[in-house]
Symmetry: C2
Subunit: 192 residues, 2 copies
DNA sequence: CTCGATTGTCTAGCGGTGCTAGGATCGAAT
DNA sequence: ATTCGATCCTAGCACCGCTAGACAATCGAG
């Protein structure tokens, strides 16, 4: 049995290596540079090996996205925990969210811009995605205000942050005043 | 002179044909289906002809984006004009914006998701882009509120709408409650 | 210990992409 | 009528995601 276990372990290791390498390459040179050939070369295996782990490139992107979502959930919860009161928590969440997006642009793209073959807003949405959303939802209930559905408010909050993140990073908004925009947004959205 | 003029006219016609065909194909089958080969076949010329009008595919996307921006500006101004008071205007702008994005998803992608080689938030930003932004800015001054820079407010307003538009269309947000989200957003952002 | 079966990996290749070099063709001006 | 320049197309490059089939290594049964 031990032989088989070792093989499975090695296989799992290699799968992690693929995801980590794809992520690294994407952060270094952008997702366009993440081709199956380059990726195969970096992990020192041939291309077909990738397809024994993933259905295709899309699934590799999806794996990176899930990893990123899990990390984002952790960071969001930590940020909320360190803040006092609903408004401060909302501000902390916003800063943490945009910080994650700025620090890991390629991972952020994998999550929300590229097609990783993931389903959203659905019952069979992968756990890490649900959890990242829950990290927002769990800390925005009061900021939503009376009579406003927390889920709906969280969706709006999230979408607004997403808009800021993508437009800023794509050079559509001047980066200099990013903080002031975030401040204004939170100031208006959070009623408490 | 007349011969040369005719040629120039035909050339301009063909350029418009290229852009219109690219847009049509993108709306019908998505931008992935807009390959230089397919595009060339549809306009009944060979591939290299495309490159005598545009530097490459990116520039064709950019041309579609500019066309879309000009149309959006018109629709936004019309919507604002039909509404009474700052708050109603803000709501009308939001609805019009999201409506344009929903009705012309491929054009919207050309403007804000894909790389069309356009510069934003800069002095040499193409006029249609500036004008579309101005259509928002010109009608959001009062909704921004006292002491808030109208430009900054418009950026936040725009980014939030962009977030809603992209996440909804990508299946990241349940489409059913799109209107309620828009309502909530405008309700919070516009202070008047 | 040997030998067939299974598993794992690689080489080679398919049809597609964006883009371009170089030759053919056609029309205008002499 | 003939040159000559503009215009356009054929053919091809390097690269893409993906896969079939050959090959080697490993395992289990006799």
């Amino acid at each position: 049995m031990s032989v088989q276990e070792r093989k499975e372990r090695e296989r799992a290791d290699r799968e992690r290596l693929i995801v980590a390498t794809a992520r690294e390459l994407a952060e270094q040179q952008g997702w366009d540079a993440v081709t199956t050939r380059r990726l195969a070369e970096r992990i020192e295996y041939s291309q077909p090996v990738l397809y024994s782990h993933f259905r295709g490139k899309r699934e590799i992107i999806g794996a990176v996205a899930l990893e990123g979502a899990a990390e984002m959930a952790v960071e969001l919860r930590a940020a909320a925990l360190a803040a006092d009161g609903p408004r401060a928590q909302a501000a902390a969440l916003a800063r943490a969210y945009l910080d994650v997006a700025t620090r890991n642009p390629a991972v952020y793209d994998a999550m929300f811009q590229l097609d990783g073959g993931l389903t959203f807003a659905h019952e069979d949405t992968p756990a890490p995605l649900k959890d990242a959303f829950a990290a927002l939802l769990d800390n925005l209930g009061e900021a939503a205000g009376e009579g406003v559905h927390p889920g709906l408010f969280t969706e709006v909050f999230w979408a607004s942050l997403h808009g800021l993140a993508t437009l800023t990073r794509a050079g559509r908004l001047p980066p200099a005043e990013a903080d002031r925009r975030t401040e204004l947004l939170v100031d208006r959205l959070a009623v408490v």
